[in-house]
């Protein structure tokens, strides 16, 4: 049975904002480049893979246009699915187009993103303005995005619910020294509508059931407001290598609170560039999350999505790039070409969500853990 993630719309909006001028300082248009990526995520009974193609081209001196095609092919027999539904396959296709217009020290951007799958459609419009200041040492970016989602059910053509999302962002990129660049981002997101997953259930203790518990549909609040503050600093080491540190604090009206940290080391050698990254995320889950409710309709709002549980995740990512076309010896109109292979190992320890496949006594099942491999192979061309 399909298992859409209503939060995908949020991802789209974030992607739309990412595609804006904030990705470069305002007085320079983004590089003209094309990327073709193969991505693969495998873990916890889920396999998701597919391509992504991104092309960016300058038109005249002050306009840059960008297009992206992205496909997720999903084959899922995840822990949620095997305990309450049936394994399924699904496709999600995403298109986006955008433009950046440069005028003096100001860049204005507009983006449109559309994501379509059999039971979930998401559309996002975003606008942003970046201003370069203080001798190009500072860039201030203001962004806004509006998203509209339509949630359906594969087994009920009449089922249709709406979500509306609004993102408000402010970003500051600051060069502090000739070796250090930093950025600060503050983002508020509001959701209103049908925010839970139409397929997912919560379990509650039920003495009349032979297994000791039963299921009922989950029920989330109709609104959510979240605030996130992120800080990054990238430093050029005394030799040719870079070290980056990141931190993000997140909190929302569902009482989720998290800290995310990452450290990245980048080391080039001739045409090769090696990087290693460690990322750590720790969160307190939503107030209405329970692995096992004491009875049916025990609380006003109920959820058992493992993403809303208390959890800790960590990722190690290794990445290797090789420049097969270098700036000095371009091929025709191509100035540079690069191939990159990245391998990520993700581990998630859930502190409340239990593994019901073990057959242990009710409420004493072992806590669930997830291990996944994340593979990316991509070619990048600059022209």
């Amino acid at each position: 049975m399909p298992d859409p993630r209503p939060r995908r719309g949020i991802l789209l909006t974030a992607l739309a904002l990412l595609a804006g001028p904030g990705s470069v300082l305002a007085s320079v248009l983004p590089d003209e480049r094309a990327d073709i990526l193969y991505h693969r995520y495998e873990g916890g009974g889920v396999l998701i893979d597919g391509p992504s193609l991104l092309v960016r081209k300058q038109v005249g001196n002050s306009l840059s246009v960008v297009g992206n095609y992205y496909l997720d092919m999903v084959s899922s027999a995840s822990i949620d699915v095997v305990t309450t539904a049936s394994p399924y396959t699904e496709e999600r296709t995403q298109w986006s187009v955008g433009m950046d217009y440069l005028r003096g020290n100001t860049t204005m951007s507009a983006n449109y993103v559309s994501s379509v799958e059999s039971d979930f459609d998401a559309t996002t419009y975003s606008l942003s303005v970046s201003q370069d200041m203080f001798g190009d040492l500072t860039t201030l970016t203001l962004s806004y995005a509006y998203g509209d989602d339509i949630v359906g059910r594969a087994d009920d053509p009449e089922f249709r619910r709406d979500n509306r999302r609004q993102h408000y962002g402010i970003g500051l990129t600051q060069i502090l020294t000739k070796n250090l660049i930093t950025s600060l981002n503050i983002e508020t997101i509001t959701d209103e509508g049908f925010l839970n997953n139409p397929y997912r259930s919560v379990r509650y203790a039920d003495a009349s059931s032979p297994i000791g518990y039963s299921y009922e549909p989950e029920l989330y609040p109709n609104t959510r407001t979240s605030n996130a503050v992120g800080f990054r600093a990238r430093y050029f080491l005394p030799y040719r290598a870079a070290l980056e540190g990141e931190y993000r604090y997140f909190t929302d009206t569902w009482e989720i609170e998290s800290h995310t940290m990452a450290v990245t080391y980048v080391h080039p050698v001739g045409p090769w560039t090696f990087s290693a990254k460690y990322r750590y995320h720790d969160q307190v889950g939503a107030a209405f999350f329970r692995d096992l409710f004491s009875r049916s309709q025990a609380t006003n709002f109920r959820g058992r999505d493992k993403e809303l549980s208390d959890l800790t995740s960590s990722t190690v990512q290794l990445k290797l790039s090789y420049d097969f076309i270098r700036d000095a010896d371009g091929w025709g109109f191509l100035k540079k070409g690069r191939v990159t292979v990245a391998l990520g190992m993700l581990g998630v320890d859930y502190h409340e969500f239990r593994d019901l496949t073990t057959g242990a006594p009710v409420g004493e099942e072992p806590l669930y853990t997830l291990d996944a491999d994340i593979i990316q192979v991509f070619f990048s061309f600059w022209y």
Binding site: L11, V24, S143, K178, N185, S226, L346, S380
Partner: protein, 78 residues
């Protein structure tokens, strides 16, 4: 009283001076000192197609979202 009068002159003068200074901040990292910042290894988002994918991976599996996006790579060195 004298101090208050002095303050009425000095504070606006300092404010005015400060504000006018904002328009003419002398860049403390000169354009010719930005070669390291211009190195591709210093880009905050050197591979946008990859970072968008990873952002998607994490936001689908964790409760948090946002706070990473608006600022990114580049240093105004070109």
């Amino acid at each position: 009283m004298k101090l208050a009068k002095l303050g009425r002159i000095i504070v606006p003068a300092l404010l005015l001076g400060g504000l006018s200074g904002c328009g003419n901040v002398e860049p403390w990292v000169k354009p010719y000192e930005r070669d390291r910042l211009a190195d591709p290894i210093m880009a905050l988002d050197g591979d946008p197609v990859s970072s968008a994918f990873l952002k998607h991976v994490y936001e689908a599996r964790e409760g948090a979202r946002g706070g990473e996006g608006a600022a990114g790579g580049g240093c105004g060195c070109n």
